[in-house]
Amino acid sequence: MSIRMLPGMASAEAGPTYSRVKGEGVDTTHGAILYLEDISVSFDGFKAINKLSLDISVGELRCIIGPNGAGKTTMMDVITGKTRPTSGTAWFGQTMNLATMTEAQIAHAGIGRKFQRPTVFEQHTVFDNLELAMKMDKRVAPTLFARLTSEQAGKIEAILRLIRLNGHEARPAGLLSHGQKQWLEIGMLLMQEPQLILLDEPVAGMSDAETARTAELLNELRGKHSIMVVEHDMGFVTDIAQQGIVTVLHEGAVLAQGRMDEVQADERVIEVYLGR
């Protein structure tokens, strides 16, 4: 499937809600941005993911929790094309089959992922990091002659304020604290204007204050972007899940799904995860 033809295939109809975040190239007419159907991934016989099914709506902030080895990172790898599912299908919108696309195509189609370890360009300034990430023609000649328009500069500034790094824009990213690097990484994701944002343990290694600030940041993004957060930190998940759906993974499959208080009350969840 070629991505180039997709914008034409996307429905012109606006969805019932979240129309302002509706993807350009992604057909989300049924309100879902991501469907995983019976995905299985096995490594040498070990089933990292076992018939996992999951769907995420447009504009939703979905939290995924689960003990170590539950298959959270493998699931992210499947969505971003890093790992091929052994069986099952992964749909991005109505029309894009992620299992047949390369990592670059998936990134181009609008799935942005933040890795556990921040990998910003340490020698570049914060501003340059955001500028490099900005959604635009990224071929050689347009890049050589690129001049920052005031509109683009304004966009970078808005993101700088959102990730609370205004005033730091001229500093080399390598000098930022761990938490600030994570925010910069989230900022770089936002600059790419992805349809779906995957955050892999965004608060790992953060101080309490930084964790609280990250929760605030994600709450600001709620409803403006479709976001999937994989996290261990229960307090943080409670902060950002609010009334939204939380999915508990266990041994490669969905164990429970529901509001945070429902999930926390679930016997099976307490047994495998929360009650320890």
């Binding site: 992922r113 020698q123 490099l132 990224k138 005033g167 824009e169």
Partner: protein, 371 residues
């Protein structure tokens, strides 16, 4: 709306511009003093000095080209000598044709072809009697070789030391090829005994002055052009290739074309440096493609300070100046001195000479680089 984003200044800071202007004027003065004052006059500059500085400028241009790929993009080439030599050979073909029947054997063919008992020029010497055609070759031959070589190497994601090794192998292979008499480029003697260029005697002081000033102009233009490139967004992408290529791919850039662009550009600049070198030095032979020569280019860049553009120019002048002095005064010690210099730079001056300079000043000499 007030802008808090960093304001991009000019290409260089004012003191650096002044330093560049002063050096350019000083250099431009050399051939003029050579022409204007007779030998023995206090202000006379010897033809030897003019030729030497001219040669150094060619080296500096090659070092500048190497810095674009090594210092900014993190691609260490140990085979840039081949691009330099190919540019030199391309220009040398014209210079050989320009000898006409003035050679030792008074044949219309170059002496080495007479010696091989060839009756006509091989097909690939066609049109080389035209100056413009050879100038096109100066750009195209290193450019196309670099593009094809780079395409396959970068597409296969050959990186780091593996890439360095195959560039070394490439220049070695070309050296062996050019050493063969049957290749048709003069074997181990290469091209020499040039007489004229565009009808002017190649040894005349005025011709030499023009060549010198042309080299200076090319070096200056290359410096400003390269600076404009590394200061552009493309320059920041290249530095992203150097620091984290995988991250760049996730941002949607295809590093292949960026690497290929800078790699080919660097090879072309190196070819131009070679083309300017050959009429001033008067000889080109396959030893220019020896692996050691390419490694020496890397030493110039490292000594001057990589990732600074100005550093490699300073480095090329310093190392070659030392070399000229050593090989005259203490010839057997030169290789030891070169080795020692490289060790000292790697251990103590990782930013090179320019790095030391910027340490003394509060503000770095080359603003914004940081590398």
């Amino acid at each position: 709306m007030t802008t808090s984003y960093p304001i991009k200044q000019g290409l260089f800071t004012r003191p650096v511009w002044l330093a560049i202007a002063a050096c350019t004027l000083l250099a431009a003065l050399l051939p003029i003093l050579n022409l204007a004052f007779a030998e023995g006059h206090a202000l006379h500059v010897s033809a030897y000095t003019v030729a030497l500085v001219g040669k150094f400028m060619c080296y500096a241009l090659a070092a500048l080209a190497l810095d674009l790929v090594w210092g900014y993009t993190g691609i260490l080439s140990l085979g840039h000598g081949v691009f330099f030599a190919l540019g030199a050979y391309a220009h040398g073909m014209y210079l050989m044709r320009a000898i006409g029947d003035q050679g030792q054997y008074h044949s219309s063919l170059p002496d080495f072809m007479v010696f091989l008992d060839w009756k006509t020029y091989p097909w690939y010497w066609a049109f080389t009697e035209h100056f413009w055609y050879c100038m096109a070759l100066v750009v195209l031959v290193p450019g196309v070789l670099a593009f094809v070589f780079g395409y396959f190497a970068f597409r296969s994601r050959i990186k780091g030391v593996y890439f360095s090794i195959i560039t070394q192998a490439m220049t070695y292979a070309f050296m062996l090829l050019f050493f063969r008499n049957d290749t048709g480029f003069g074997g181990n003697n290469g091209f020499t005994d040039f007489k004229t260029i565009l009808g002017h005697s190649i040894t005349a002081p005025a011709t030499r002055a023009v060549l010198f000033l042309l080299t200076l102009a090319f070096l200056l233009a290359a410096l400003i052009g390269a600076r404009a490139i590394v200061r552009s967004k493309l320059g920041r992408v290249l530095q992203g290739v150097r620091d984290s290529e995988a991250r760049l791919m996730f941002l949607g850039y295809n590093p292949l074309w960026f690497k290929l662009f800078v790699w080919t550009l660097s090879a072309v600049l190196c070819g131009i440096a070679g083309a300017l070198y050959v009429p001033q030095v008067g000889i080109i032979n396959p030893s220019e493609m020896s692996p050691a020569n390419s490694i020496e280019m890397v030493v110039w860049v490292a000594v001057g300070g990589r990732g600074t553009l100005l550093g490699p120019i300073v480095g090329a002048f310093t190392v070659n100046g030392l070399k000229s002095w050593f090989t005259a005064a203490l010839p057997e010690l030169w290789l030891f001195a070169l080795g020692l210099l490289f060790i000292v730079v790697t251990l103590f001056l990782q930013q090179g000479m320019l790095g030391v300079l910027s340490k003394f000043k509060r503000k770095p000499v080359v603003a914004e680089e940081g590398a």
